[in-house]
Amino acid sequence: MARQLTFSIFRYNPNKLGDKPRMQEYTFEEFEGLTLFVALNKIREEMDPTLMFDFVCRAAICGSCAMMVNGRPRLACKTMTNLLPNRINLLPLPVFKLIGDLSVDTGTWFRNLQVKTESWVHTKKRFDPNALEVRMDNKIAEQIYEPERCVECGCCVATCVTANIREDFIGATGINRVSRFMMDPRDERTDADYYEVVGNEDGAFGCVGLMACADLCPMELPLQSQLAYARRRMAAAGLKLQFAGVKIS
């Protein structure tokens, strides 16, 4: 016999005057292949048209639908209910600004991150449309692709102790993003340049090493080694700057 599932969902619309945060329950019978994507749409279309949540690709590649599922951040689209108990608690990701119910504003947070960490290729070369591309070892291209796979879902930020208590911490996703440029030969920034960006407690040195990010990354990115890589280079850069007599704040 199919299970009765109870979805206990966080409800709060900050734009509605007088609305108060609360948990609301919806119950229906589980069926084959049920994911949280299917379940939430069913609830909205058949039970409660006001329910707010975000899905875009529904294929676990766009990062829109991260939420707290029974206490852990997950991509809802690829979460099958048959792996969950009868009672499923859904809450919005912490850290990010709440838009309503399960919908949070990851877009603004990540855009600020890109700007703050200057996450783009810095080069003095001008693009020459008549020239061949600069050669690159395929192994390096594959190495860059690893951190580049981050979908900016925010799971690592939501689960990070530092990010939960310090607003300006760039999180594993931010450190991963910067290290992606560090390993890209097309980016001409020096370690001293990167030190300006992430050589501080809002960057590479803010992490306290609990590594829940690495355990819970839906893309299974090598966050631990990316963090170690960035730290190693930043620690070396910091020492070098200090020996050169540069005062580090």
Binding site: R44, D48, T106, Q114, V121
Partner: protein, 608 residues
């Protein structure tokens, strides 16, 4: 009540996928102020879902040696079944190699040529030259004479989208995400901007600009089963159509991708077959060579999709928990290393949604709606027909690079190339244009939208359920306007859609509609979506030939004498059916001929 905020810029770009952002970059480079509107943060756009790669005739890999834009052009024209605009296709094929290299300079980690002898799973043995080592490599794709699909594993759309967005961030281009354009503001001659609904608050805003660029992507969600993201509801096209002045081109040209994965209909990249994957039937027989001895699994998508359905109809489909009828994709012989490196994103998808490991398991596949070749009709410079100051780009547009069938890898390539080429035209036009301010006119458009919202909330016009109507529309498209089409079925489909259209005008909310209410967003989109569906169904009914993806069983031959032309669908005020006009399709670079694959060449062989 009036608009909450009014924003003014030189250029307004509606949509933030690859085509949209690339055009914004081009305009911003000319010093123009640009605002981008998007339903979602740019990096979540459906462009990121593109897997396999971008076609560009770099000719670096051994199997691509000697490639050039002319061969790419010929492949594209054949792929389009002579339906494309050949001048557009030529400009595209000439420019796309530069685009690939520019993306490289911006940071895309393109996979590179590794020198040495190799043997591919397909049995091909080649040697890549030392002199090409480290240059951008390519994989095989459907309907091509040379390997030219440049890629980053099978996450090409993701890497290109992220890198293009880094340039948008670097240039400081303004993006207003969670902002949905709901109607065009125009005076009958010129587009002045849009009315938009804030999806955070529900507020109505006005955006005014000298030029407006529509880059809102495809309309796959008019079908119940599609590989498209849930945001691909054709909002930009519907908005243009609703003016009554702007036509949609060739809406009946809909691509069905051979390998959507049931039951979730997520795409399994063509790269899987490009890298040597097979299609198998219920007897584990590799059937495509029976139908297409030359191209096998790598004929164009329209052809492979039809052959698959033909084979299922002949009784060779598989019945399983995944779907009532489907076929298998087999990439096991590519080896675990190849599968989990170069086809890793689709392997994750197969694992996540069906618990299958493609290195050892077969993956269920069935042709699935994938791409809208049709869209807002523009001239070869991206200017939309019917209104000045309005441009369209990417999948939202019918620039007409693809005609009646798009080649795999040509759409991702189109996004950045059109973004560059049309973006330049946008900039040129905008630099010579003046902003029109007509407050009465603007207020009129705002008022119309506020009335619509008020009526939906109060239920003044009726209490029809937006979600129920959407579902019925999707099913009607599946039942009547799918891969194989016939006059009587299309006629029934049109009638069903007309009935649904009339009902969609009587939608009333079942919730309060206050704030960023999601039901209201859906309700506002519904009549426009059904108009797009009707343009597709009615265009298909009236086109009495088969061309590319448009396959009429009652008119199985391509008819160049009567149908070498493009459909233009207009929606006149108060109508419940589009008005169709036609324009000729010129063939300056390659006269109509044989595609070298498909029914005309290989014939409808019986299955073995």
């Amino acid at each position: 009540m009036s608009a909450k905020h009014t924003h003014i810029s030189d250029v307004l770009v509606v949509g933030a996928g690859l085509a949209a952002e690339r055009s914004a970059i081009e305009a911003a480079e000319q010093g123009l102020s640009v605002i981008i509107l998007s339903l979602i943060p740019p990096r979540r756009s459906h462009s990121t879902a593109a897997q396999g790669g971008m076609q560009a005739s770099l000719g670096n890999i051994a199997m691509g040696l000697g490639d050039n834009p002319r061969i790419h052009l010929e492949d594209t024209i054949k792929g389009s079944d002579w339906g494309c605009d050949q001048e557009v296709a030529k400009a595209f094929c000439d420019t796309v190699p530069i685009m690939i290299r520019q993306l490289d300079s911006w940071g895309v980690p393109w996979n590179r040529v590794v020198a040495g002898k190799k043997k591919y799973a397909s049995g091909i043995e080649t040697e890549d030259l030392k002199e090409k080592e480290g240059l951008i490599t390519a994989r095989d794709f459907g309907g091509v004479a040379k390997w030219r699909c440049c890629y980053t594993a099978d996450g090409t759309g993701h890497t290109v989208m992220f890198v293009v967005d880094t340039v948008v961030c670097k240039m400081g281009i303004t993006v207003h995400d969670r902002m949905e354009a709901i109607s065009l503001i125009h005076d009958g001659e010129t587009c002045l901007g849009v009315v938009a609904r804030d999806l955070r608050t529900g507020d109505i805003n006005v955006y005014l600009a000298k030029s407006t660029v529509i880059g809102t992507g495809g309309a796959g969600r008019i079908y119940a089963a599609t590989t498209n993201a849930v945001v691909c509801e054709g909002t930009g096209g519907a908005m243009c159509l609703n003016t009554g002045l702007v036509p949609l081109g060739n809406m009946e040209a809909v691509q069905f991708h051979p390998t959507g994965m049931p039951p979730v209909w997520i795409l399994m990249t063509e790269g899987a077959r490009g890298d040597g994957g097979y299609l198998l039937d219920k007897n584990m027989h590799r059937f495509m060579p029976d139908y297409e001895p030359k191209k096998k699994e790598l004929a164009s998508r329209d052809v492979v999709s039809r052959r698959m359905i033909q084979h299922i109809r002949a009784g060779y489909g598989i019945q399983s928990k995944y779907a009532p009828q489907h076929l298998w994709l087999d990439i096991r012989h590519l080896g675990r290393k190849w599968v989990w490196n170069n086809l890793r994103e689709i392997s994750n998808i197969a694992m996540n949604f069906n618990g299958l490991d493609p290195a050892k398991d077969l993956v269920p596949v069935l042709p699935t709606q994938h791409y809208s070749m049709g869209g807002v009709r523009t001239n070869k410079n991206g200017f939309v027909y019917g209104l000045k100051g309005l441009f369209a780009i990417g999948e939202a547009a019918c620039w007409d690079l693809h005609g009646f069938n798009r080649l795999g890898g040509n759409s991702l390539a189109e996004t950045v190339t059109a973004g560059f080429l049309v973006g330049k035209e946008v900039a040129k036009y905008t630099l010579g244009a003046t902003q029109k301010f007509d407050y009465k006119l603007i207020e009129g458009f705002v008022k119309t939208e506020e009335e619509r919202i008020k009526n939906l909330i109060s239920g003044k016009n009726g209490k029809e359920n937006a979600y129920a109507i959407k579902e019925a529309m999707g099913q009607a498209m599946m039942d009547h306007v799918h891969i194989f089409r016939t006059g009587p079925a299309l006629q029934q489909g049109v009638a069903k859609l007309q009935e649904l259209y009339r009902r969609s005008l009587k939608i009333g909310l079942h919730s309060s509609g206050q704030g960023a209410n999601p039901e209201l967003a859906q309700a506002l989109r519904m009549p426009g979506m059904i108009r797009m569906a009707l343009c597709t169904a009615y265009g298909a009914l009236m086109r009495t030939e088969s061309r590319g993806s448009h396959s009429r069983e009652d008119y199985p031959k391509r008819d160049d004498a009567n149908w070498l032309k493009r459909t233009l669908a207009y929606w006149k005020p108060g109508a419940d059916l589009p008005t169709l006009e036609y324009e000729p399709v010129a063939t300056p670079h390659m006269p109509p001929g044989d595609r070298g694959y498909g029914e005309a060449t290989a014939g409808p062989k019986a299955a073995k």
